[in-house]
């Protein structure tokens, strides 16, 4: 999956797309969790968010690797 994305002639690292997708996904999840009041049960909010992002990033890399290669 190592390679470059081309966006109207501008080269971007291949990781840029999963990074952006994972961010959108986690932003949505955070909003939902906040609405549900789940954060009151979570000890370290920031650590939880970062971990969530890492998981989401992994999922996005696996997902995009399928149709980018």
């Amino acid at each position: 999956m190592i390679g470059d994305l081309t966006l109207y002639g501008v080269y971007l690292p291949a990781l840029a797309l999963p990074i952006a997708l994972a961010y959108v996904l986690v932003a949505g999840l955070r909003w939902l969790l906040g609405r549900a009041g789940a954060y009151r049960w979570i000890w370290h909010r920031s650590l939880f968010n970062v971990s969530l992002y890492v998981i989401a990033l992994y999922a996005m890399v696996r997902w995009t690797a399928g149709w980018m290669s």
């Binding site: 906040g34 954060y39 370290h44 909010r45 920031s46 650590l47 970062v50």
Partner: protein, 715 residues
């Protein structure tokens, strides 16, 4: 063992003093976190092969704050500012590189314009504009010899800064995050203490006729400073996780602290005047005041609000007992009660907000006790003339430095221009930038010497990243403890950034003595040019901005009395309070020749607004009298504007006569008791009461000479 000699006692005292200044555990923790983030950023930047990894390191020190939210907000502002400055540099440099004069003009105009924009925003977000102001020269000027490289350079610098900010935010959020809530809770307590100390001191000493405690005046000034501090705090708070309620509560508290200023000042004047009357302060009222003072001084408890409501009720019934009379004493007594009621309401709200802050959330059904006046907390007073002047001045000195660079043909002169712009921008918002700039030049020089020692004596011994970290740790850890202290913040920041830059930490050790000396000299010369220029163009002291603040206050009052600005009353009130908050520290530092504490003007302003608003609701004869008062008031402030600031103007007898006549006309309207079921008549009576209070306030703040002060002149 003999008794302690004076010498050893002195030594012990010294030691105690020294120990008190040693960094505390919290500061060491912050420093260690910052250093860890900085080395992480440095490592990542090195691994990514960026040309100037020390920028990532320095950025961590710039944005790090003990509060996670503040680190985030400053990081965001820094990213925005860098991207704006870098984009403009990339766009403009290739176009103008062959025309040095045009490039200099553009760079200096950009710096001045962006600096002006940063003045318009007094919150931490002004950093965006300030940073773009000097990022453009930072990126464009070193590249004039190779303009084709400017894009690479700009991208590298943006990446270095992004890495620094990412590392700083990550470390500050993950490792023992500094939550705003406990800090805010402590601050809420401190702010209320300042307010309470003023209120209690005033209630005790004014009622008993004791000399005024100088500490009371100091709490008043601290309260004004608290209002400004709260603004800065709120804007950082927005970037903390889970803080929507905290922001709302802080806004409410800020508004109430702002309203406490005129309330307490008016109360103090009314009680003092009442005491000087033959009848003095009635015993019932004095007992009431003592009770309120005890209530305010008591720590917050579960029954605070209940007691407050009862006190309010009692004040109401006390006011009804003296409703019938119309002599000046009676008006004063009613006025005192009205202000006491306002104080009790504000204090109830303050305590309620404090309680909710501790609970961590805004109670859904909370209804504030105080609902008389509201004002927007986003409006500021700006001295556009001064701001324009300092922005243009910075523009000019940047252009001047550019010209010097071009004329001398000094290859490293670009560094001087950059430092000149940075030194000018940093301190341009101050009344007297020169002392701070001098300190900056001094620190800058000191850093270069440290950098020299580090670069040529210590760093050659460091061969790997680990040894480098060890070599840097002592110095940076020590500086890091200072960053958290307000008194040292600017110095420590300059120290860490300049140090990181002057060490020139890159992947390969490259100590070129000639290069180092050349760029160091450029850096010192640049800040010296800025300092000299400031001394030449801004020789006036802080009293100039004080005079300008007072004059704009009077201009606003004249305009309000003449009936302008009435479409935006909230804005007007907010501007008056903001101006007062700016005025009070300057008045405290000045000699007091202006004959005002700034608060009287605020009270006159609030009363004028009220009179203007009620004008339409009054019956024709009363409205005519009130209009006459307003006309005389406008005339008074217009004439005040024509005189020098230090020459006080006694209000004309005309104003006094008109106020007295208006009070005489209004009193029957306010005191005739309408039938209980006539709602319109009751509303009219309430309006008349309001107007009467405003007129009393005018008479109190403008026309009643303060009775002899037991302690001499007020500060």
């Amino acid at each position: 063992m003999s008794t302690a000699t004076p010498l050893s006692a002195r030594f012990e005292r010294r030691l105690d003093g020294l120990l008190a200044h040693l960094p505390r555990a919290r500061e060491w923790l912050h420093s260690a976190k910052t250093f860890a983030a900085a080395m992480l950023a440095f490592y990542v930047a090195l691994a990514a092969g960026l040309p100037r990894p020390y920028w990532a390191l320095a950025t961590v020190y710039v944005v790090s704050n003990a509060l996670t939210g503040a680190t985030r907000s400053k990081g965001l502002y820094r990213i925005l500012g860098t991207l704006i400055g870098a984009s403009v540099a990339v766009l403009v440099l290739p176009l103008l590189v062959d025309m040095p004069l045009a490039l200099s003009l553009f760079v200096s105009a950009w710096t001045g314009t962006l600096l002006y924009l940063s003045f318009l925003d007094r919150l931490p977000s002004n950093y965006v504009y300030m940073l773009s102001a000097y990022t453009l020269p930072m990126i464009a000027l070193p590249m004039v010899q190779q303009p084709d490289q400017v894009f690479t350079f700009a991208v590298a610098r943006s990446e270095e800064i992004l890495i620094g900010i990412a590392c700083a935010s990550l470390v500050s959020a993950l490792v023992l995050p500094g939550k705003a809530a406990p800090v805010l809770e402590a601050r809420f307590g401190a702010w209320l203490d300042d307010a309470g100390r003023w209120a209690v001191g005033l209630l005790h000493s004014e009622a008993a006729g004791q000399p005024r405690d100088p500490a009371t005046a100091a709490s008043a000034h601290r309260l004004a400073a608290d209002v400004l501090a709260l603004d800065q705090f709120i804007s950082h708070l927005r970037y903390d996780t889970d803080s929507a309620d905290a922001v709302k509560m802080s806004r409410e508290l800020r508004m109430r602290l702002g309203l406490l200023l005129p309330t307490l000042s008016s109360l103090s004047a009314a009680v003092r005047t009442l005491r000087a009357t033959p009848a003095g302060v009635p015993a019932a009222l004095r007992a009431q005041m003592d009770e309120i003072a005890a209530w305010i001084a008591a720590p917050a408890g579960p029954d605070t609000d209940v007691v407050g409501a009862r006190l309010q009720q009692r004040l109401r019934s006390l006011a009804e007992t003296c409703a019938e009379a119309q002599a000046w004493d009676d008006l004063l007594r009613r006025h005192v009660m009205k202000r006491l009621e306002g104080l009790v309401q504000l204090w109830r709200d303050g305590r309620a907000l404090q309680r909710m802050m501790t609970a961590g959330r805004l109670a859904p059904g909370w209804a504030p006790a105080y609902e008389r006046w509201t004002f927007s907390t986003a409006v500021r007073h700006h001295d556009h003339g001064m701001q324009l002047f300092s922005a243009v001045s910075v523009s000019l000195v940047t252009f001047f430095a550019c010209a010097l660079w071009i004329l001398t043909g000094w290859s490293d002169g670009g560094g001087a221009v950059i430092m000149c712009a940075v030194t000018s921008c940093f301190f341009a918002a101050q009344d007297e930038p020169a002392p701070a700039q001098l300190a900056f030049v001094f620190v800058n020089t000191l850093c270069l010497i440290f950098g020299l020692i580090g670069l040529f004596l210590i760093l050659p011994a460091a061969h790997e990243f680990e040894t480098l970290t060890l070599a840097l740790a002592p110095m940076f850890l020590l500086i890091g403890t200072l960053v958290a202290r307000p008194a040292f913040a600017a110095v420590a920041l300059g120290l860490s950034v300049t140090l990181a830059t002057s060490l020139g930490l890159t992947d390969a050790y490259s100590a070129d003595f000639g290069l180092f000396v050349n760029s160091s000299v450029a850096s010192v010369v640049g800040s010296l040019i800025a300092l000299l220029w400031t001394l030449l163009t801004r020789p006036f002291s802080a009293s100039l901005s004080l005079r300008r603040l007072l004059r704009s206050t009077w201009r606003d009052l004249a305009a309000t009395a003449a009936g302008r600005h009435l479409d935006a009353v909230d804005t007007l009130r907010a501007r008056m309070i903001d101006r007062l908050a700016q005025l009070m520290p300057r008045l405290a530092a000045s000699t007091g020749l202006q004959g005002t504490d700034g608060l009287a003007e605020l009270r006159v302003g609030f009363s004028t607004v009220l009179l203007q608003q009620e004008l339409a609701n009054l019956p024709a004869p009363a409205a005519r009298e009130v209009q006459a008062v307003l006309d005389a008031l406008a005339l008074h402030y217009r004439r005040r504007l024509e005189r020098p600031v230090a020459a006080p103007l006694a209000p004309s007898p005309l104003l006094g006569r008109r106020v007295a006549r208006a009070i005489a006309t209004l009193t029957p309207l306010a005191t005739t008791v309408p039938e209980a079921d006539n709602a319109a008549a009751r509303a009219r009576q309430a309006d008349a009461h309001e107007v009467l209070h405003a007129l009393t306030e005018l008479r109190l703040s403008l026309l009643t000479p303060p009775p002899n002060e037991p302690t001499g002149a007020p500060a």
